[in-house]
Amino acid sequence: MTPATPSTGPAIQIIGMHKWYGDFHVLKDINLTVEKGERIVVCGPSGSGKSTMIRCINRLEEHQRGQIVVDGIELTSDLKRIDGIRREVGMVFQQFNLFPHLTVLENLCLAPIWVRHMPRPEAEALAMSYLERVRIPEQARKYPGQLSGGQQQRVAIARALCMNPRIMLFDEPTSALDPEMIKEVLDVMVSLAEDGMTMLCVTHEMGFARTVANRVVFMDQGEIVEAAAPEQFFNAPSSERTRQFLSQILH
């Protein structure tokens, strides 16, 4: 593995970004800077554009105006840049999206082998070390369909980590899980945060936001309404919309 020389600037910089789906203006003038090692939680009502925003960062969606700069590289339609950025940015999805035709170990090894040109024994050793990290090394030879939801999501996290990303994006990683499995996934995310990983998480786990986030970003109708440190965000939100949202979500 040859990680490119880390740049000195912020991990992610979004400047005046807009996106439309046809006539529908889904993201409006998004400005957000994520420093290296910073943990950001994004929340907001359904349909507010949270997923769309983080999916723009690794080009699963294309933005139409403004700039996105990831680790010093501006995202354009240049395929080489997109590839480069995707290698440095890991993503975890709400629906896990593990590859059902491959074993857990093969899921983890796929990208290191085909993207990083890593020899299989080395890739497998790496994969096992990450499976131990998410505490399911004994599941390596099973297929995703044979695991519980919480185990699948931990495999998905390990799979992203195998590419040794500098930034991790999470899109509601615990929303498809039963309550008893949420904790096992959050524990993994907390330990990642403790290791200094730059994280951008869309989640409604407010406990996680309080304890782990450096900043909480609130989105509504395609706009960033508020971005503040957790104490301020939860105790003294500046906007009426945020207050309303918090009163709903915290009962």
Partner: protein
């Protein structure tokens, strides 16, 4: 245990006619009797008819002299050969059209199916047009189109399109020089075979090595070199133990050399282009059946779109693709019998046609023909089922 025992003892006895197991057994037995009875009646009837016409039954006729020529034969055959040899020639011709048809239809079908999903508007439209145009015209008409409209428009033998004085294209077909073996030619053939096996092995090895060590190997280039180089080297070492028989115009037609007859070309073109349209739709729906999230997860890991298709999408799509693909392959086999309409010498036109007419052995000829189609079909199905079984998903 105790609860179970109590439950059985207290359950009221099911009357025999309401027991589903016994019922289905009775129905099956009845059906078997009906089928066997009908079969016996048919057979007996035909045998009586044949007896009345004085035709001997049995397969002895296969050894008799056929007395007719077949334009395309891949094994030695002449008018003096037996009906059995004619059957062999016809079967090989059927298998040739079928296997070439399956191969080409699969390649074209995958290509068109993927193209139909392309984000490039023109490519997607063209692929859609291909599918709609080809699957909405009867296959027989397409065979006629290629045969009469395209290939029949070629010049007569005397005005052949000539290349290097060795290749001749006219309405009787494409004539190419044929290698004539001298002693030692077997070695060259052997070298070719060895090179082919080596190239296949090399491809597998290169992929394994790629996965095991992360290093690329130019397998395609080396294979090509091997395939051309090795036979050439052996040929040079043995002093080129072959001569070429050039096709030559004798009277109204060419003699000698190898000929690719227009009936064969028309048949392969029509059948593979037609089946490819269906296979394209099967491939498209198979790919669409794979969750979009799979593609996104793969792209997010940094795999390229081509790698995503090859390593993530297609392996999953195959589970949906293979069963309907099997029936397309069977259709290609069965549709190859339409070649009778343009007198391509395959199983139906030669054996169930000419041989049947000459010998009158209706039962034997039909039985052999059906048995052949049935066994080839079953072989194709068995292979495809085995392949699909390998791809089955493991769930909890």
């Amino acid at each position: 245990m105790a609860v179970e025992a109590k439950a059985t003892s207290s359950a009221p006895r099911t009357p025999v006619w309401r027991d589903p197991a016994i019922r289905s057994l009775a129905i099956q037995a009845l059906l078997l009797v009906v089928v066997l009875g009908a079969g016996w009646w048919l057979l007996d009837n035909t045998r009586q008819n044949l007896n009345r016409q004085g035709i001997a039954s049995g397969f002895g006729f296969l050894d008799h002299t056929a007395g007719f020529a077949i334009v395309m034969h891949l094994i030695p055959y002449s008018e003096a050969s037996s009906y059995g040899m004619a059957l062999g020639v016809a079967l090989i011709n059927t298998l040739l059209v079928t296997s070439l048809g399956i191969f080409l239809a699969t390649v074209i079908g995958f290509f068109v199916g993927v193209a139909r999903l392309s984000s490039n508007w023109l490519v997607a439209r063209l692929a859609a047009f291909y599918v709609e145009a080809l699957r909405n015209v009867p296959l027989l008409l397409q065979i006629f189109f290629w045969y009469f409209a395209v290939l029949r428009a070629l010049p007569p033998p005397r005005e052949s399109v000539t290349l290097f004085g060795a290749f001749f294209l006219n309405l009787r077909g494409l004539y190419v020089p044929a290698p004539v073996a001298a002693s030692g030619f077997g070695l060259v053939l052997l070298a070719g075979g060895v090179a082919l096996v080596a190239a296949l092995g090399l491809g597998l090895w290169a992929r394994r090595r790629r996965v095991a060590t992360g290093q690329d190997f130019p397998a395609a280039a080396v294979s090509l070199g091997l395939l051309i180089g090795l036979p050439l080297l052996v040929a040079a070492a043995t002093g080129f133990p072959m001569s070429w028989e050039l096709p030559a115009l004798k009277g109204f037609n060419f003699q000698g050399g190898l000929v690719l007859i227009p009936e064969f070309v028309a048949m392969v073109l029509a059948i593979s282009l037609y089946a490819a349209a269906y296979i394209a739709e099967i491939v498209r729906s198979g790919i669409l059946a794979v969750n979009r999230g799979q593609t996104e997860a793969s792209l997010a890991l940094g795999l390229s779109p081509a790698q995503t298709l090859r390593l993530v999408v297609v392996p999953q799509a195959l589970r949906v693709i293979v069963p309907p693909l099997t029936s397309q392959y069977l259709n290609i086999l069965k549709n190859s019998s339409l070649a009778a309409a343009i007198a391509y010498p395959e199983l139906v036109s030669v054996f169930a046609g000419t041989v049947l007419n000459q010998t009158g052995q209706a039962i034997e000829v039909m039985a052999i023909t059906m048995a052949i189609y049935l066994s080839v079909s079953l072989a194709i199905s068995a292979f495809m089922n085995w392949y699909n079984g390998r791809n089955a998903l493991r769930e909890r």
